[in-house]
Symmetry: C4
Subunit: 193 residues, 4 copies
């Protein structure tokens, strides 16, 4: 019972974050002489927004998939799980802001640095939740099928990639954006492969 | 269990998309001398927005209905299903933008072209999901009751209508909007008939 | 199963409509010399918005309560139920616009006329859904406990009140707003009494 | 059954309120000469918004946790429960406005006074709901494990803290904001400890 509502709240927050990303697409005010070309020019100008939207959507699909697989094997939920899950959702809910910033100012450094920092906090809060859940549910499929589940190897690897990407963002935002896009794509390919 | 959360996420996204469509209706700033007539004139001026909202709402009801009937018979869910469903939801979440654009500039060509393209991507991603789900669930009611379920006939038919409508949009946006409205109405009448 | 997702979609749409009502409260830009008094004056100026928000929230609670009690006794769902429920949700999703309009221009006639018209459509679409559901579910508690359930008496009564309120709105918007507020309060008192 | 939908509606509203808090973060318009520093300056300028967002998110996590634990033990739901729950959700949905106000004008008195008033109404409506639910469910775990569950001690304590914080807000908004932040943190530490 408990688990059902925690999952429902998480699904709700992730579904809303997925959808409000799109609210950044504003209907442009075009000059009457421009007509269709005005709209096309505005749309092309906004392609970075489309791209950063797609990246964040992929990131959110992967977070939802991880959350889903983690809680699938959960039987016992305590207040700390609820609290850690809430903190994770808080950082997830931050994602639309750097996404919009990155879409609006793709050439600047700050948006991709901030995007990386938020992504790192999502990761860090997720791993706190992850380790707490596995500790409380000793019969969780993750720990049964893999001895590495409780090790911090994957945790550090994911956070390390983000730290490197943030470092790269100080030099070239484009390369760091490519890294942010590569992480969910790699994850999806690996999981499906 | 798995299925429940995938359905919850999808219901959440579709419910939000249905509702944020309406956020385009902005309270107008009227001049104090105009009073009621200012509001009435603004409302009449915004009737295309109302109309394009109704069309998209019907389209979303039909998508939800299809999604619902597809997953009703599903027993096995894998990561690829989650991923393909996510891509489908991403294109669904795009719908409000061309809807708003079409409502704001009903006489221009670009909005109805973009609306058709998004609709086509929704269709294409849905059919990828559909065929993957039927392949994984060989005991799905769709394949049992109809041998055509796995054929691509209906798939191509639906996409073909959208491609034709996009072509028409280059000549007359009004006719293509009529086609976009006709698709869900036809679907609803056929299903209820 | 079917019923669960239809209820989830409806809960989602109603929850979102309840919450986006509040998005009308914009953080005001005040002049630096005004400070606190600027915010207080703005808040007092916006009290009609608060009031119209509270009325719509009560209306939505009552609609949700009715929807909930109707579907509680439902066993069989067909495509027409899904479609009629969708149309009902479409009119529910319209509510925030006249609510915001009524809050912004409380002295004008058009906002309360439009509010009444939307309310009437909500009612009409609900009764179409209601009668279809009772017809399909002959063992529904409503028809078992009360022979009047299938009569159109309550239907007409509710719509009649709205038609009268719309008529009043042409003369005095304040009295019609009082009627809109009285309907859910009467319903809640009657049901709890 | 009944309970499931009431929980779903509440989860939906709370999830949306959690997420629309973030909509206050607007992508800034920077002058082209400023580039990254313009964004950094804007972000630093908006740190109070981030802080008030985090406080409200913690408050919402705690409200959700309380609501969740209350309804976990509920078996009987009547119309009054639905109505009182609706009123509670209405005040919850008000939270984003004073949160945004407090973030925008952190040095002024009115935002933190209003934040306290809304918080007090959330508390008052929750305790009405709480006592009604415990009265209707005499076998609720709360009353079985603790004789104090039905006393009004905790109720008054919580409301008292808010009344004191509102009083403080007339003198120093910063201290009252610290109190608002301390309440959920104290609650979380106590519950986890």
């Amino acid at each position: 019972m408990t688990k059902t509502r925690l999952e429902a709240l998480s699904d709700g927050v992730i579904a809303i974050v997925m959808t409000i990303l799109i609210l950044e697409f504003k209907v442009p005010k075009i000059e009457s002489s421009e007509e269709d070309w005005g709209l096309v020019k505005d749309f092309i100008h906004n392609l970075p927004v489309v791209l950063s939207y797609i990246i964040s959507f992929l990131v959110l699909i992967v977070w939802w998939m991880s959350h889903h697989e983690l809680f699938h094997g959960v039987k016992h939920i305590d207040r700390k799980t609820i609290f850690l899950n809430g903190i994770f959702l808080m950082f997830i809910a931050f994602i639309p802001f750097p996404t919009a910033l990155m879409g609006e100012y793709p050439g600047l450094h700050f948006p991709s640095i901030l995007y990386g920092i938020i992504g790192m906090f999502c990761g860090a809060s997720y791993y706190c939740l992850y380790h707490h859940v596995l500790k409380k549910n000793t019969d969780h499929p993750f720990t049964i099928t893999s001895k590495e589940a409780l090790s911090f190897k994957n945790t550090w690897l994911h956070l390390l990639v983000y730290i490197v990407a943030i470092g790269i963002a100080f030099i070239s935002p484009y390369i760091s954006i490519a890294v942010y896009a590569a992480v969910p794509i790699y994850f999806i390919l690996k999981k499906n492969g």
